[in-house]
Amino acid sequence: MADLLTFIEFSLRGLMVGAVYALMAMGLSLIFGVMRVVNVAHGEFLMLGGYVSFFAWSSVQLNPIASLFVAMPLLFFLGMTIQRLFIERVVGKPELSSLMLCFGLSIILLQGAQLLFTPDPRGFTWLLYPVRLLGWNFPMYMLMIFATSMAIAFALFLFLKATRWGKAIRAVSQNYEVAQACGIDARKVRMLSFGCGAAMAGAAGAFVPVQFSLSPGVGHEFILKSFAVVVVGGLGSLWGAFLAGLLLGIVESLITFYFSSHLAQLTFYATIIAVLLVRPGGLFGSAEA
């Protein structure tokens, strides 16, 4: 009985951490779906979101949920700008170009952040007290982060489902030619979706200084986890990214508890490899990519 309770406790913990992974991976998947670009710099968007949230807290005591209203628009415009200036030029070119371009961007943002923000680890204390939930203690901030992440994820689904631009994004991602034939401006859609993707990473990042330790290199760990998530969920699939994010959060937490954190980390990388072995196109995704 005690064992089962522990199992549930750690599954719940993992679910909550997984919500952050889901947010980030959804952005990655959205970008890929629309322009077939794997945004290797996605982790750096998350990191930037983290610094926005950190500085918002340390300068004017803005809490991370409020600072989402700063971080998300900022990252949205940054994403659009980067898309317009760089990514747009390699859309439709061989993968090598977009991969290396994003790699270059990632390095610039990462090392630039080291210069600007110093490599010092940052973080702040927000809602750090235990709350009793279903018989277990969870930190209050964790519950808030989980709830907010869920809200953002569903807002994105709603946006794609119900708005004109959202429908245009889905159209381009489902069938580029038909979408263009219907008079959708694919360039604008690409800019918009890159912005949205970056904003999603920024939103996930806003929680990093609360729950994790924020440093310029933090994106590296998250991008690899996101890769595992999107490989399981299928690149380009938003629901896939959402569910796989939660799932991998749970798996990570359970393996940490029953085995070790090393093994939990290795699981992410092993997942990437294992999934690609079985299905070179991701688990839930289409085989073509």
Binding site: T6, E9, F10, R13, G14, V17, D120, P121, G123, F124, T125, L128, Y129, P130, N137, F138, P139, M140, Y141, M142, V208, Q211, F212, S213, L214, S215, V218, H220, E221, E252, S253, T256, F257, S260, S261, H262, A264, Q265
Partner: protein, 315 residues
């Protein structure tokens, strides 16, 4: 390299380990000022480099005694980063816990890239650990403390390297830092004589005073270590000049390996030349510190304590 008579060493375990073999190959007398791992000396038959600072296993050993004798903890959870220095710290904790019969409830390392300590801390609580010790660098000390607070973990003692000794720690965590124990090699307040050079002594307080005049702030331990290593090397060179009227590498080296005494940094004494672990520091001591009302107090060993240890965390 060929025209160098002696070397100051780089900061940190990994860098020192990397230069160790070069130093040995070229034969340059060196006192490694800030390196806490044993790897460059253990069984290496070192002939040129000695360890000036203390060793990682000593960092938290005192906290085990404190946990047993004062906090009456029944068991310990050791949680540490998987890199050379924290591994050494954990080795010391483990060895002392075994020696003193303290049950080890959890013994786990985590990857350097880890950013969320809460699963591991929750694990320690699930396993019923009363004394949590270990850590790595600054983020870990803050992360572990936060994670423990977040789940309402009540501990008899929480002891973390090296971040918990950092003045930033209490600034960043405020009330949560209260009662957290850490380890310090050196503090401005500690009375050490330093070297007696031709009748004149530069003791720790002199060093601290002139450092403050120069830089307008208290020196950190690395400055003291550098200065202390400088005192030692200067003495080694003087010794060589006295004996041979020139700076002789062999004589300088012999001094580094044979000298046993004090610098402003504290005691110095290494395993003698010719033995397998030659050059390894054996005399330098560590204190357990604890944050009490925003101040860093030495709480262990008892004879150097500036305050009574507080038992129980959080306060």
């Amino acid at each position: 390299m060929d025209r160098v008579d002696f070397l100051f060493s780089p900061y940190g375990s990994e860098l020192t380990a990397a230069v160790a073999s070069v130093i040995e190959e070229l034969g340059v007398p060196t006192a490694a000022s800030i390196v806490a791992t044993l790897a460059p000396w253990k069984g290496k038959n070192a002939k040129w480099m000695t360890q000036f600072s203390s060793t990682a296993p000593l960092y938290l050993m005192g906290s085990v005694d404190l946990a047993i004798e004062r906090a009456e903890a029944k068991n310990i959870a050791i949680l540490y980063e998987d890199t050379p220095f924290p591994i050494g710290v954990a080795d010391g904790l483990r060895a002392r816990a075994k020696e003193r019969g303290l049950k080890i409830a959890m013994d786990e390392k985590y990857d350097k890239a880890l950013t969320d300590w809460s699963p591991l801390v929750s694990k320690a609580r699930s396993l019923g650990a009363e004394f949590l010790a270990g850590g790595g660098y600054y983020p870990a000390a803050v992360g572990i403390t936060r994670a423990a607070a977040g789940i309402g973990y009540r501990l008899k003692l929480l002891a973390l390297v090296v971040g918990a000794a950092d003045p930033k720690f209490v600034k960043d965590l405020g009330i949560l830092a209260e009662g957290v124990a850490g380890s310090d090699i050196w503090l401005p307040s500690v009375k050490t004589r330093g070297f007696v050079v031709e009748g004149a002594t530069i003791a720790n307080e002199d060093f601290v005073r002139s450092y403050k005049e120069e830089f307008k702030r208290d020196p950190e331990y690395w400055s003291a270590a550098g200065y202390g290593a400088g005192q030692l090397l200067a003495q080694a060179v003087n010794d060589s000049l006295k004996r041979a009227r020139k700076v002789d590498r062999n004589l300088t080296r012999d001094f580094l390996f044979n000298f046993s005494g004090e610098t402003i940094y504290g005691d110095y004494g290494v395993v003698k030349l010719g033995q397998p672990d030659a050059g390894m520091q054996v005399r330098k001591q560590h204190f357990v510190i604890q944050w009490q009302k925003g101040k860093k107090e030495v709480v262990w060993p008892r004879e150097l304590a500036s305050a009574e240890p507080w038992i129980g965390w959080p306060r």
